[in-house]
Symmetry: C2
Subunit: 440 residues, 2 copies
């Protein structure tokens, strides 16, 4: 069945794929425009990804960082929310297909489907080294972490127990650093007293980074500071570490074999496969190389926004990084271009190029520590963590989320205990040897 | 491998199966006793089941009502927590098997594994009519509810849309009543403005009860009041309704066929299958018929506590109901019996019989309404709801949960919006016909 859009209509159809930071900003930017907007996502919620690692590490619940898209656009009457998977896009016919079943025409299209993990061609690593991009990923990692401690508690064989208490995090970017810090925090503070036979603070948490420093998007001084803070916390860091194998027993770094039952992937980023399906030029990471106005070459009515776009900022020619603020700014830019075209009939050649305003970047390191780089001002430690906390609370979408996340953090800070230590979904502990559960 | 307990030890091994209300109270009651306690559960958390329907209906998150067992017993040093499934119990050899792999000896055993759903021999109904006993059940029901509205929004066929908006709840006990009320509340208040094409307040919510009144454990006047309140809210109630068929298209009540894509089961209760495996006498609901002291006939060192026990209260000979307060009292009773035996060498014949103190019962009906029966004092409406809220907050185990659940309720009450409207886990919308998402 085909729904034909009424092209004679004065209200153009704008279709946005993806309700991440970029997609949301496009739709919000079109709030007062005389257009029909449809936002399509495979989930019914917008996910605040910067805090996803806190779901994986038992600090927050999914509902604290995920918000129904319908609720966000409840009062914006020109928006339709569609739950579905875009399976095909035909740029020449200006239409797309949802769930292999339904074609929808568009006058403008914005593809904002972001990025996923890249295992650099070793897709078989996925099974033993899950990544952290979705709520389901986070719950999966949470389950693995909690089961690891449960299994270690009852493991009599020392080498096997060691492997269960060894966590390897591949990738020293912000996600890897935050995951490693939070994990170490759990092992040392949250749960140590809950176990009888195993000292959880002996858990080995290793961060493997292929480069010669972690957090390489930050100033080298901040990288060094973060590394010191992490090491003080007890995280082992392997710089220049190349992972050559991953199986269910451990990893190989270079030629060294490390037995580890828990491997998490925070390394490669691969653009959403929808980019490739457009049939236009991509960069090495699979991102669509767009024109300065963010439109796809040859298709001025099709835009890419967010992590899927490969573009340089028009003011300094530097590549725009794949971070949330950049995605938001791209979303706003695209909305503005569309509005100008509709309202002022601005010709395509006169469109403003996208200009990225770098407002700074930050990352947390364990409890109440962070690094921040704001316009060349560098902050570390508790001050940076306060800034980090405040900015993340500010950007959380709903007042409810701000309130509950803040209270959660305050509670965890004061009482040193996280609130969501649940093993949910199906599982099967991997040990079959039990300690005598009632030793005399 | 077999762990032999040291029977010459001065510290007897007490093994508790199940970390529900009964199991928890047994363990807590033995805090100062000179025993080794092991508590075995297939989950790593204690679930506060009375609020589970609020997870299913998007009001609360799992972590608000589930608490790590290890955390609860962190400071009680005579307790071991074991994550596992008890697959066999040998009363004559005083040992049990976990996960078909590990045998554990006990001096005392308390089986407190509660109850599950009974489909009255129609186990095939499970697939189309999930029940509500576990966190995973609740998330499954939440997903089905949210998907139903999503699918209805895009369904063009009127009859099909009607079926998607029809929710049948089988069983008019507290769970059924609370589920129906909360569901109607969502449809009418929470989400109505979020949809563009479907008026969610037209959702048909039908409560089917086999008896001639709902909430039959309450006084008839309260049943009648609850029924009026539910009907005022817009819930349809079918008394004397016998469900004769359930499939993926709907249900048959007597001879009447009702098309409904959403059927939830809150009817039969069947005792945990572990009861049957004991090889002792059971009642019709599969519960173990215990002696007045809650021990299993012939095995004075084995007790049943909670919903799995079939017993009459020693003061009035009335059967003890399968409710949370009864389970807690049974747990306390068993702990006391064991302590007296160990400390004062009280002979088995002199054990005190279990006496149930009925402290009253209550159930909520939609938003800010409830019924309560406290020692013959009957309350309804807002007052009863306040009592219900306060008592449930009181019994939530952690301060954190009390705080967060209270804030959640306050927020939802004031802003009329629930906080956990997420579709998580795998899913596939059941519609393939889309409305034109950008109508002109």
């Amino acid at each position: 069945m085909k729904n034909s859009a009424n092209l004679a209509s004065p209200r153009p159809n704008v279709v946005v794929i993806g309700a991440g930071f970029a997609g949301l900003r496009v739709v919000q930017g079109l709030a007062k425009a005389c257009v029909n907007v449809a936002i399509i996502d495979r989930h019914n919620y917008h996910l605040f990804q910067p805090l996803l690692y806190q779901v994986a590490t038992t600090a927050l619940s999914p509902a604290d960082i995920a918000f129904p898209i319908r609720r966000i656009f409840r009062s914006q009457k020109n928006v339709e929310c569609v739950l579905g998977d875009v399976t095909q896009i035909d740029l020449n016919r200006s239409c797309l297909t949802i769930d292999n079943a339904q074609e929808i025409d568009f006058d403008y299209l914005i593809v904002a489907t972001g990025a996923t993990h890249s295992y650099f061609g070793k897709e078989e690593w996925l099974r033993n080294a899950p990544g952290l991009k979705t709520i389901d990923d986070a719950l999966q990692i949470r389950k693995r972490i909690l089961l690891a401690f449960e299994e270690a508690e009852n493991e009599l064989d020392e080498a096997a127990q060691r492997a269960k208490l060894t966590f390897i995090i591949v990738g020293g970017g912000p996600t890897g650093v935050e995951l490693a810090g939070a994990l170490r925090q759990i092992a040392v503070k949250e749960i140590q007293k809950d176990y009888r036979h195993v000292d959880t603070s002996t858990a080995r948490i290793m961060l493997v980074e292929a480069n010669d420093r972690i957090l390489k998007s930050f100033h080298p001084k901040l990288s060094a500071h973060a590394m010191r803070d992490l090491e003080k916390l007890g995280v082992e860091i392997r710089l220049n570490g190349r992972v050559t194998a991953i199986d269910d027993q451990g990893v190989k770094i270079g030629d060294e074999r490390i037995d580890a039952n828990n491997v998490f992937w925070a390394a490669g980023v691969l653009a959403s496969p929808l980019g490739k399906s457009l049939g236009v030029e991509l960069d090495r990471a699979g991102r669509v190389i767009v024109k300065p106005d963010l439109s796809v070459p040859g298709y001025p009515n099709v835009f890419i926004a967010g992590d899927l776009a490969s573009v340089t900022s028009s003011d300094n020619n530097k590549p725009v990084p794949g971070v949330a603020p950049a995605a938001m700014q791209m979303g706003e830019h695209v909305a503005k271009v569309i509005k100008q075209e509709i309202l002022s009939k601005l010709p395509v050649e006169k469109r403003a190029p996208f200009q990225y305003r770098d407002k700074g970047s930050m990352a947390t390191i364990g409890k109440a520590k962070a690094i921040a780089d704001i316009h060349g001002w560098r902050f570390t430690g508790f001050i940076a963590w306060l800034m980090w906390s405040m900015i993340h609370l500010m950007f959380l979408i709903t007042f409810r989320a701000k309130l509950f996340v803040m209270l959660n953090w305050a509670y965890t800070y004061i009482f040193q205990t996280t609130g969501a230590r649940l093993i949910t979904g199906e599982f099967k502990p991997r040990i079959r040897k039990f300690r005598d559960v009632t030793p005399n």
